[in-house]
């Protein structure tokens, strides 16, 4: 069946995949790449409306050829990088065409669609374009010509750790390039592209030293490496330890090799992370879990030494084997503890990923609800609190406090003033969630003195 028709890049058709309940589904997918291995063809598919991390190589028998749609003619996408065959089909485009039946020009449709979707919140639309937003924030003072307004492809901005737009998106980075990573006890399936040395991308398994994160092409090499590598913990200072959980601080300038290896690994699981520039302006906080073999990396977050935009986290990641066990929240909590010591409020660098958003919202909700529920009425007066106070106590940036209150639907207008109302299900839900939350950061175990990086010259 697949042999008769030529399934090329850009075609759309339903592709069989198993869902979490292990049931068959046939979501619509787009063919991003075709490769021929001896005996058969393989197709790299992106499931429309699913995150890229689920993209995969599929065999022809999983394609539903009866519903094949050929790419629309309008695909006059400018090849950004001059790479032949590079077809930067941005998610934007996919979203648009997925929801529009006719093949209209995409730009206007995006707006219409979004407007329809968000019910006239044009302002929100604007704000949710991080690239624009950033520029707008900086205002007229920003003469940083990193954003190529003149059409010349320029280097991306040098602050931050995430790509603010998809202008550097191309077919190479759209596709996962590593099949499998072995790290300590774990075998990880990467979610996204990562710029490991190209000759290593063809390997079935990429081996990483669990402690220094060096990449090796074979188990034999790893064995040899382990005779020489005597690290049993991340190469930095331990600034927190409680129970088996430790945090190590690593300077991206002083320990480049480790920082780079960490970034390469993290890139496998962070879509928007950029490795364009060196790691010098970042600190890396690596969370480990101790056992008799050593301090095993669980997750990490990076942080700009100096942030002009109140970011207290650049990239944050819990490694997949440790996900959904509360470590992510622990990382977030730790990042706010650091901000508390610094006496600042902070916010994670944008854009957030889907998992990032859920984690942060969850953390913010629990943190704020914890405060609200703990407030006791004094002298029979109804307890009250300002948003600024919440922000100061938690180090969560004011905007994040407001968005959380909105998201939880706590803010109401009652009798001429704003009030916060805690509904039954919110309270119940919070209490249930807090019971499950065993892992907490103990501020007493934190041994951290913030450095004033601005006084140290360049980082």
């Amino acid at each position: 069946m697949a042999d008769n028709v030529d399934v090329v890049e850009g075609c759309r058709l339903p592709v069989l995949r198993k869902n979490q309940e292990n049931e068959d589904e046939w979501p619509l997918a787009e063919i991003l790449s075709v490769k021929e291995i001896p005996g058969r063809k393989l197709y790299y598919v992106h499931y429309i409306d699913f995150n890229k991390r689920l993209d995969e190589w599929v065999t022809p028998d999983r394609l539903d050829m009866k519903k094949l749609q050929f790419p629309k003619k309008e695909a006059k996408t400018p090849t950004k990088n001059g790479l032949p065959g590079s077809r930067p089909s941005s998610p934007e485009r996919e979203v648009v065409s997925a929801h529009s039946t006719a093949g209209y020009s995409s730009q206007t449709l995006t707006c219409c669609n979004s407007k329809l979707r968000f019910n006239g919140t044009a302002r929100r639309l604007m704000a949710s374009q991080p690239g624009r937003k950033r520029k707008a924030n900086c205002g007229g003072t920003d003469e940083d010509s990193q954003d190529s307004s003149d059409g010349i492809p320029s280097a991306p901005r040098m602050t931050g750790s995430l790509v603010s737009d998809r202008s550097h998106d191309d077919i190479v980075t759209r596709m996962k390039n590593i099949d499998c990573i072995e790290l300590g006890r774990h075998r990880l399936k990467p979610w996204y592209f990562s710029p490991y040395p190209q000759e290593l991308t063809t390997l079935p398994v990429l081996y990483l030293c669990e402690f220094c994160l060096k990449y090796l092409k074979s188990l034999k090499c790893l064995q040899r490496h382990l005779t020489k590598c005597n690290l049993r913990h991340p190469p930095g200072n331990e600034i927190y330890r409680k129970g088996t959980i430790s945090f190590f601080e690593i300077d991206g300038r002083k320990n480049k090799t480790y920082s780079q290896n960490l970034c390469l690994l993290a890139k496998c699981f962070l879509d928007h992370k950029t490795l364009y520039y060196d790691t010098d302006p970042f600190l890396f906080y690596v969370m480990t879990e101790y056992d008799s073999k050593g301090f095993h990396i669980v997750g990490y977050f990076s942080k700009e030494k100096e942030s002009t935009e109140d970011y207290n986290v650049a990239c944050i990641l819990t490694l997949p084997p440790y996900q959904r066990r509360g470590y992510g929240k622990l990382l977030i909590e730790f990042s706010y503890e650091l901000s508390k010591v610094e006496g600042k409020t902070g916010t994670p660098e944008k854009p957030l990923s889907d998992l990032g958003l859920l984690s942060y919202r969850s953390y913010w909700s629990q943190t704020i609800l914890e405060i609200l529920m703990d407030l006791k009425p004094d002298n029979g007066e109804r307890p009250q609190i300002t948003i600024n106070e919440i922000s100061e106590i938690t180090s969560v940036k004011k905007e994040d406090v407001i968005s959380t209150l909105q998201y939880l639907n706590l803010i109401n207008y009652y009798k001429g003033q704003y009030i916060l109302t805690l509904s039954e299900d919110i309270v119940d839900g919070h209490e249930r969630a807090m019971q499950k939350r065993h892992l907490r950061i103990d501020p007493k175990c934190l041994h951290f003195t913030p450095k004033d990086w601005s006084k140290r010259g360049k980082w």
Binding site: D170, P195, K217, L219, R224, D354, I419, A433
Partner: protein, 734 residues
């Protein structure tokens, strides 16, 4: 829900918000939606991702259930944690220290090789281990060094030997293995590395290039322009400092070479003293064959300088071409000498290993210059370490290669040459062979213009021709007119060598006519031309010429040296019976001279006129002066300026010299009259000659006044002299 009849005030973050439980607010239904008053905060996600199915599902699940549902989470690719060989892989246990781990900022690097052996290497190692013991770490260190030294180009085997310092057999096996493995390697290095950026910007969009340096733009807070400017300045300063370091390195090298030269010279002198070699014979025997070399090796080592020289040549034209070729080791007149001498030293001292020297240098230069943005095009002119071809084979395509089955004879050292070398006192004579002289052929009786004879491979005689402005005139000359003298004169007689630039000074018809006139004179006075012929016949040369024959040779070399150009050179060879100098005419009488050097400082140009006459030690007979023994008598009478165009006028006092079969140095200046302009100033005779009492005495005369007189009287010669003074000029009279 009651209709909102007023505009809600904006949410004030500083205003206290009372907290209500829902049960406390039975009339909560009266609460109003605040959507309009409180701005919706962005989620912080990319909007298109925000719409993704699994996220939306998870968000709604949370909204509904207020907690996570197992089947509503966002699906991710699986991860396994069941590596069974983990314990075998990560050996040993770690006891948790009581204190927080504090890492020392230094001492992390324990100098372990970055290269990790793979199973293929292990096979080789097992094979090698049958013959000798080699540990994996040793092997890794070797490969690591090889890899790190081969950033641009593969390390060659000799370089590898220097690098590794291992047993030869082991080294060879590992090296060969490494070369093979590297060829098959898909990556740029056997140690996998993150792709580096290239400074030309070609990698700006390469997805595999990561961790670029942030040097393009300084990260200044709030865009402080002055910070950026000062940053740029610091970068520049840094660059310049590193250049200084490079220069100083080079100076250091040069001075070391100098010192070495000094020591070597000292040693040579000591050795000579011990040997009793006071006449320099032994030294000459030893040095002559060596002296041959540098003339040809010089272009090899000084690739850059040589290119520069080539440019110069085209500028100065013929003058330069005719210039120095005689690198007689003890003739230290020309500054150019210095270079070749150094090269000589260099090549002699380290015959086989110039590449390694360069390796070091390049590394040094690089080392001091890592931060130079935009300096990529400034690559040090040294050749990269692993290009032995270029080093050893300067002729490249045209290199001489021995052919199998061919017999190669050693070059003919004909007696002419032999004589010269055996008699160092004939230093100047050696140079004669390299001068361009007016040449005629006897068999197709033809005048070929300026030429010089060379001995080619297998004793072939090669005639190098040079073009000059005189060619036009020369063509008109009748070769028959001097055919007989040519045939008769077997000796090497040098005539006029004219510089191109000079004749360009002589412009238009008048010039031509003047020259014609001169040449007529030449003809009438019999013109002896150089003619290639075996030298052994020269002995019996009778002078059947009407003129005093010149059997012997007198070389008088006139050297005009200015500071304008130290390296250029021009040789004039004047015929015995007419000396035609462009700037002035000199009659030079040298009776017997070992070496007479007259140094003139001419008008403000600091020109150096050097006349050297070389002859045999036999006391010649001279009409003017006759000093037996060691006496030298030289009289140079410069007769002044003839005309504006051809400022030569020689009042000649003709000397008839007795015919000597052996080399008698004599100059017999011919009497000729170039009074093209009757208004020519009367020749102010210049007596240059001084008497040297000893053979090696060098008289110095500074006839500045005379020459400056001339200069004032006539502008033309000044111009011409200026022309001359552009180069160093050696004039020789035979």
């Amino acid at each position: 829900m009651s209709k909102l009849s007023f505009r809600a005030r904006a949410l004030d973050a500083a205003k206290p918000l009372p907290i209500y439980r829902s049960r406390d607010l039975p009339d909560l239904k009266d609460c109003v939606s605040i959507n309009r008053a409180v701005p919706q905060m962005p989620t912080g996600m990319e909007k298109e991702e925000e719409l993704e199915h699994h996220l939306q599902r998870a968000i709604s699940a949370q909204q509904v259930f207020r907690e996570k549902k197992e089947n509503m989470v966002i699906p991710v690719p699986e991860a396994e944690s069941n590596i069974t060989y983990y314990d075998r892989l990560y050996k040993g246990e770690l006891k948790v220290p009581k204190q927080l781990i504090h890492i020392q900022p230094l001492g992390l690097d324990n100098e372990q090789p970055d290269y990790d052996m793979d199973s293929e290497d292990e096979t080789l190692l097992n094979r090698l281990n049958r013959k000798m013991e080699i540990k994996p770490l040793q092997f890794e260190t070797m490969v690591d060094r090889l890899e790190k030294a081969s950033a641009n180009q593969l390390v060659s085997l000799p370089e590898a030997k220097l690098l590794l310092n291992e047993d030869d057999y082991l080294l060879k096996s590992v090296y060969d293995y490494w070369v093979r493995k590297r060829k098959n390697c898909r990556g740029p290095s056997l140690i996998p590395q993150i792709k580096q950026e290239k400074r030309d910007g070609s990698t700006n969009n390469d997805a595999y290039v990561a961790f670029r340096r942030r040097t393009e733009k300084m990260q200044t807070r709030k865009n402080r322009k002055n910070d950026e400017a000062s940053y740029e300045k610091m970068l520049k300063l840094r660059r310049e400092f590193s250049r200084t370091v490079t220069i100083l390195e080079m100076i250091k090298r040069r001075e070391k070479s100098k010192r070495e030269l000094l020591h070597l010279t000292l040693e040579v002198v000591e050795k000579r003293y011990l040997l009793g070699d006071f006449t320099g014979e032994v030294l000459n025997e030893v040095t002559v064959p060596l002296a041959e070399k540098p003339v040809y090796t010089a272009p090899v080592t000084l690739t850059n300088g040589n290119r520069h020289k080539a440019e110069l040549k085209t500028k100065t034209g013929l003058m330069h071409q005719v210039s120095i070729k005689d690198e007689f080791p003890f003739d230290c007149v020309r500054p150019k000498k210095k270079y070749s001498k150094r090269d000589k030293l260099y090549t002699q001292r380290r015959p086989g290993r110039p590449p390694s020297q360069y390796t070091v240098n390049k590394a040094d230069i690089k080392q001091y210059d890592f931060h130079s943005s935009g300096e990529e095009d400034y690559t040090p002119p040294l050749s990269p370490p692993s290009e032995p071809d270029e080093e050893n084979d300067p002729d490249g395509l045209f290199a001489f290669r021995r052919k199998a089955g061919c017999q190669y004879l050693s070059p003919h050292m004909d007696q002419n040459l032999g004589v010269l070398w055996e008699h160092p006192e004939l230093a100047g004579m050696d140079a004669l062979r390299h001068r361009h002289s007016l040449t005629a052929l006897s068999l197709p009786s033809r005048l070929v213009g300026l030429g010089r004879r060379r001995m080619g491979r297998g004793g072939r005689v090669i005639l190098d021709r040079a073009s000059s402005g005189l060619d036009v005139v020369l063509k008109q000359l009748d070769p028959d007119a001097f055919a007989s003298p040519v045939s008769r004169t077997r000796d090497i007689n040098r005539l006029v060598a004219q510089r191109a630039s000079m004749s360009s000074g002589v412009s238009s018809a008048t010039a031509a006519s003047s020259f014609a006139e001169i040449l007529n004179n030449i003809q009438s006075l019999r013109w002896h031309c150089f003619r290639p012929r075996p030298a052994q016949h020269q002995v019996n040369e009778g002078s059947r010429m009407g003129k005093p024959s010149l059997d012997g040779r007198v070389t008088s070399s006139l050297l005009l040296n200015t500071k304008n150009n130290g390296s250029g050179g021009l040789s004039f060879t004047a015929g015995a019976d007419n000396q035609q100098l462009v700037g002035k005419t000199s009659e030079i009488f040298f009776t017997s001279a070992q070496c007479a050097k007259c140094t003139l400082t001419s008008y403000g140009l600091h020109s150096l006129l050097q006349c050297s006459s070389t002859g045999t030690s036999r006391p010649p007979h001279s009409a003017t002066l006759s000093h037996s023994g060691a006496g030298i008598s030289g009289r140079v009478s410069s007769s002044g300026i003839g005309g504006p165009l051809l400022p030569t006028h020689s009042s000649s006092s003709l000397q008839s010299l007795p015919n000597h079969r052996n080399h008698v140095s004599a100059v017999s200046p011919a009497h000729h009259h170039h009074s093209a302009q009757p208004s020519a100033p009367s020749p102010s005779a210049l007596k240059l000659a001084t008497v040297a009492t000893t053979l090696d005495h060098v008289p110095k005369v500074t006839p500045a006044s005379t020459i400056s007189n001339l200069a004032r009287e006539n502008h033309e010669p000044e111009r011409l002299l200026n022309g001359i003074s552009e180069t160093t000029m050696a004039m020789e009279v035979t």
